[in-house]
Assembly symmetry: D2
Homo-oligomer: 435 residues x 4
């Protein structure tokens, strides 16, 4: 049977000079970079929702992207979708995939039927994983699409919705563990508010803290060793989402005693919506010890909503990966293409082009980032800039002196400190020389 | 001698019907609202920098606002400025003022001279306080205008700048204590970065944590009972400021063990630049127990920089004060007009109009907010919405049940929770009926 | 039979003191303001799409709002929808409604069937108009929801889509004329681009100019006397929409010789997305002679997409109406509630509350705006500011002098012009005194 | 005498492999690309104001960048500044420079003195031009820094300010003509408003139209053959600037009959502030026939003010130059570095690094853009997409058929048009393959 991808061959590495649009120009999976293969560094992941659920609709228009399973519920459609998904994984030669429970099979009429649906398709997915060697980077539960969640899941004013969401996460976590998922993600869907007028902010934060503690306790009880991840986003669908950004989630984790239990899944487009660069979010999560995994996509800086486009900026992606490499890599995490083709990209081949371009961009960015690490000039410049803090004087200021000691000392000097150039333009030129 | 305010009489309350632009239409200082006078609730504060230092210049233009002390340094100019300041306090009949060290007198050629200048003008200010009964809401040190701070103060790569800033804060805190200041504020001036390329984010955060701990230790040592306040701002002057918003500062305080020592001075315009409403920042700080004081001003929602305009939206200000009242008031804090007249408002009288308008707006907003509290419908609507959490079932979900307990329970039910209307439009109409 | 509005009585004027949420506090339809009744000034219009088509779905969630006709196509559902619509018009006592062709009845399988569907429901609507006295403010064709329009209608790369859209507009214009519609609107749906990489900008602008000329020619040929309106929007659904804002559409009309043929339907939320205030767009359209009608809604200044919320800011709406009154009113136009209830507002009554609030707000804003006109201080201040241009000298500068004359004159003077205060804060206080 | 650039040698081309930060890696001035040398294509221009006037101050801080002429007025300082400027032109080996009148010499106490100052320094500049072969790309008058212009120049409520501005422009245009300037630029400084409350929008637009007509008439009278350019900007310093963007200025030119007389000087950062990409503004100006010259700089997409940073994004700059090449080049125009070094870049060498990086980036971008033109795949894809419009059918739709003809034709067909993929991801990958 012909798949929707027209029996395309597996995309292969052909080098930078090829004009074949369905070849890799930079992703040479077994090439060793800084001691690991590109495949091990990048852990590319195709996500189910954008690639196999998204239909091109938007708030002003009907679906444009039609697949054989479009508009059909139930296990037959789910199996057909899984066939196509694993065929795409084969075409792209990627090692990982990710899903929400509702992506892989439709919700049932009752909770029990939903559980049963998910268990059945999990058997299919597990078998396909075994056959192909493709692994699950993470699973997650969709706690935002169904009307019951319109006012949030963990933060719902109705405790029965909290309970329903908790039961759903328990089962999705069970399935993720069964399929060997390396992580389990909680994206704060509609955990936020539309208007403060009907909202008790403090109470909702406590509910969310309670929910996350339930999940962490259960993880330990079952012996699951994957990482629990939270995915920050500042707004959309709600006006204000509680998991605004890295700094906000860090404070939340500290408040509820979870800073050693939970890490972050950071997304480029969400960073932008929060007013940050992607590299800022990565560098900050790294400094705070909570860097987990990445959703590599991009927003449009002139657009105020989540466009979830495939990454295509080499400078931006190289900087992001530079901070990942400086942080020692992503561990359990990976690079998940949380990105969707455009409404007008209605051919199945568009989905392949999109991923090939994204994979190649990240591979090329890895080479640039590794070059920056190996060259070392950038890092040395930063170290030199702070060198004074490693002197005896710097160490005393940072630890033993009191405010009065310091004031006495400053008052005893005849001159103040002299400004030194920050050399931003030189460093930007240096950065450009790595491309 | 005629002051720059042309010997204007003190602005008096004349009621809503007056056409006198230099009368209060709503601010009736001794009127009792919810058990306290308007004066006690609102604690209006005129800030020195915008009112007596700002000269109308902008990045594209030279100063337009000329005062007798413009362009002059030293104590004579400082005394002249103080005369005008206390004359404005008299005209407006406000109980508080606030300053940076460099606002009240120019910096000296050396650290010692700067200390001496500030001590001398503090004597003048103290005497004027005694004579007029005007109090100091807060003092703060300007750690951002001088070139030495171009790369930050506490977060500077050069430890000598850290030391200089620390010594400066010690002295400014001493002066603030001496003048009976109710609070001491740290605004993160240039504590942030222009480019990550030359920045060690983790190290700079540690430096900032160290700095703040030094200040808190010194405060306790000296027995000062005022509140230490941090003022969040997401960007400007730097590309990224570390004290981004309420949630970010909360995480920072938790990280460095300061969440019970430091509160927040929240500004409306800074909230907007961070992507939040002012009432969000207030409600969140209240929920986290760190609400301290307010800078009442406004930004322009179509403008991406800090415009620091005088507040003029009754709906926005009433909502802000509603959450303040719900939080039990501001305690040591107050309403500081961190707002400047426009470049074209070159007459001294413009400064009076600006404050009269701001004071009157806040007074009217207080009446609206108090009406909302007294009416109670809004608060009851919120309580009712979460009522399920007060049931035995709700309490069990919030405390004793495990994830497995909950899942077992949900699986045993035949139907899921039903969505209920959020009634946003009804509540928005209700809100409008209070105006 | 009970309508979805539960046989609610018609909302009546009860005055500002009422606590009845389903009464008008300010809208007293026969009250005369500046020589016309409130009903004549405001020409309130309920729009079909948001009120009877919108189902609460968003990019992250399934529909939440269920009506008896939800999910059903064809004429039976259309008649049921029309019954509910006219029942809402009765409840609200509004004089106008507006629609897209696809709102009032579903599209057919062929062009001919779509035409036939629309003709059939137009008969129903016409009869209801006759029975109730409700009029059609405007009709418009939906040229953006169907997949055939995914790359634009008039600006599509495929001329057959252009033709299909043109034929559709012809029929919708015929129906609008038949129903006595006061205006015909073209909203630029997907007339824009997603990426310049696949777009010929100049060609698409010419196509759009051609399309609009076809419509105007046909209007004249048929003797239709309604106004053709374009509705500016800068982005969404496309990345860049050609009808960006008032100034852009003005240039487009001039380029294609249409500036005396077409006016603008301005929307508050679209103005904000383009970086403008609503009053700016109104004042500019008025100055350029192309002010037509208004979509009264609001966006959220912290949100980057079209939220289409019901208006609820008295200051914003009063300013908008002040510039409408200064422009001599809207003529054929009206105030169309292009606004939708929130995803969580799932009860039919929410739709009533939303409109009652919007109507009352605009009515109150009209009273404020009329008060500003009658008082005259604001307008006089502006006139005085420019008074110099009415002097002989001012008139010479504006008409007869050459650049050399002016330069010779300036060189002969001994001093330059002196700046005068812009008095912004005084004027803002004055504005607030009208509320 | 040692210049502030420490007698640096002229920067030379050394090729992509060099590690010398003060060499060109891509700018090989005599290399022929698409039939012209890089020097002829790019016409690099150093601007006086950012490079020799800007002192690192910002709204929160004092100057940080000190030059020998800092803080000094008069002709001696002006000559010293000109020496440094032409030394930088030598170091960079650039063919053009640009200035405002007030950049090259300080304003005098009277109009006459200002004229005399400018004439005197123009003699110096003319001599240096002759000696070095460096040319003037454009001159312009600063009509925004002095307090007299705080409410605008041409659009000032006071006709005497209009006259003063007109006389100033006449003289600056004379000087520009005398120095052989290829263009004369009008940037709308403060032509806009702070608040509509004190503004007569229509009158101010007429004043601006009158002003521009005066300038164009004078240009023709004097036989000056340079191009008059307007530089769009949407906001900053004013809340709303009349020259918002390309489309707005086009409408303005049409309104005042100037569309064949005036072209645009487009700036990347201004485009972004208006919500557009730089390539959009270029492609639109090209389609409208008013593309003149470019200010190559960049903003920060996360920052809402004009950061005027040196360009450093190869993808962005290459796309901009692709549309320039498609438009046939810039003619009289050039690439002006309207960009300033950062506040912390206090060494003179930072200014050299900044320009070297910008020049090299643009040179590399030109090679990429030329490669795109030569390859032709992108352009062919666009042509093919619109091919239907070249058929007889397409031409009839575009010219001869009436709306009724088209409707009759569509009604006679049995099926509608079929959507085709927009292939955005494929094209984005193709674009990336050119880098």
């Amino acid at each position: 049977m012909t798949s929707i991808f027209g029996n395309l061959p597996t995309v292969a590495y052909e080098g930078p000079e090829t004009h074949n649009p369905l070849a890799y120009r930079w992703y040479d999976k077994d090439r060793v970079v800084l001691g690991r293969t590109m495949r091990e560094h990048l852990r590319f992941t195709v996500c189910y929702w954008h690639s196999f659920v998204m239909n091109g609709s938007d708030p002003f228009g009907a679906p444009t992207i039609m697949r054989p399973w479009s508009g059909r519920d139930g296990l037959d459609a789910a199996r057909q979708k899984a066939d196509a998904a694993f065929d795409l994984f084969r075409v792209l030669d990627v090692p990982f995939y990710s899903f929400h429970d509702r992506d892989v099979v439709s919700e049932g009429a009752t909770f029990q039927e939903s559980v049963s649906n998910l268990d059945a398709i999990a058997d299919v997915l597990g078998q396909k994983q075994d056959e192909t060697g493709v692994h699950l980077l993470w699973g997650t539960a969709n706690l935002f699409s169904h009307p019951r969640y319109m006012a949030g899941a963990a933060t719902n004013p109705d405790p029965e919705v909290f309970a329903y969401a908790a039961a759903t996460v328990k089962h999705c976590l069970d399935v993720t563990r069964r399929l060997g998922g390396a992580n389990y993600v909680l994206w704060g869907g509609r955990e936020g508010y539309e208007t403060l007028l009907n909202t008790d902010l403090g109470r909702e934060l406590d509910q969310m803290g309670r929910f996350l503690n339930l999940v962490v306790e259960y993880k330990h009880k079952t012996g699951y060793t994957g990482t629990i991840l939270i995915e920050p986003k500042p707004k959309e669908p709600t006006k204000h989402q509680y998991d605004f950004d890295t700094a906000t989630v860090y404070g939340f984790l500290k408040r509820y005693g979870l800073e050693n239990e939970v890490k972050l899944n950071l997304e480029a487009n969400h960073a932008q919506l929060a007013g940050h660069s992607f590299e800022h979010e990565i560098a900050l999560a790294s400094a705070l010890g909570i860097l987990g995994s990445l959703d590599v996509n991009r927003g449009d800086p002139l657009i105020g909503w989540d466009t979830d486009q495939f990454p295509n900026s080499l400078p931006d992606t190289a900087l992001a990966l530079y901070y990942v490499l400086k942080s020692g890599g992503l561990g359990n995490g990976g690079l998940n293409f949380d990105a969707k083709i455009r409404r007008q990209s209605i051919d199945a081949e568009d989905l392949v082009h999109a991923h090939v371009g994204g994979i190649d961009l990240c591979a090329r960015a890895l080479l640039v980032a590794a070059g920056m690490i190996e060259d070392g000039r950038l890092a040395r410049h930063v170290e030199d800039r702070y060198a004074g803090w490693n002197s005896a004087r710097g160490k005393a200021l940072a630890s033993s002196m009191s405010l009065e000691d310091i004031a006495r000392d400053v008052a005893g000097r005849s001159d103040g400190p002299q400004p030194k150039s920050g050399r931003q333009e030189y460093l930007e030129n240096l950065l450009n020389s790595y491309f």
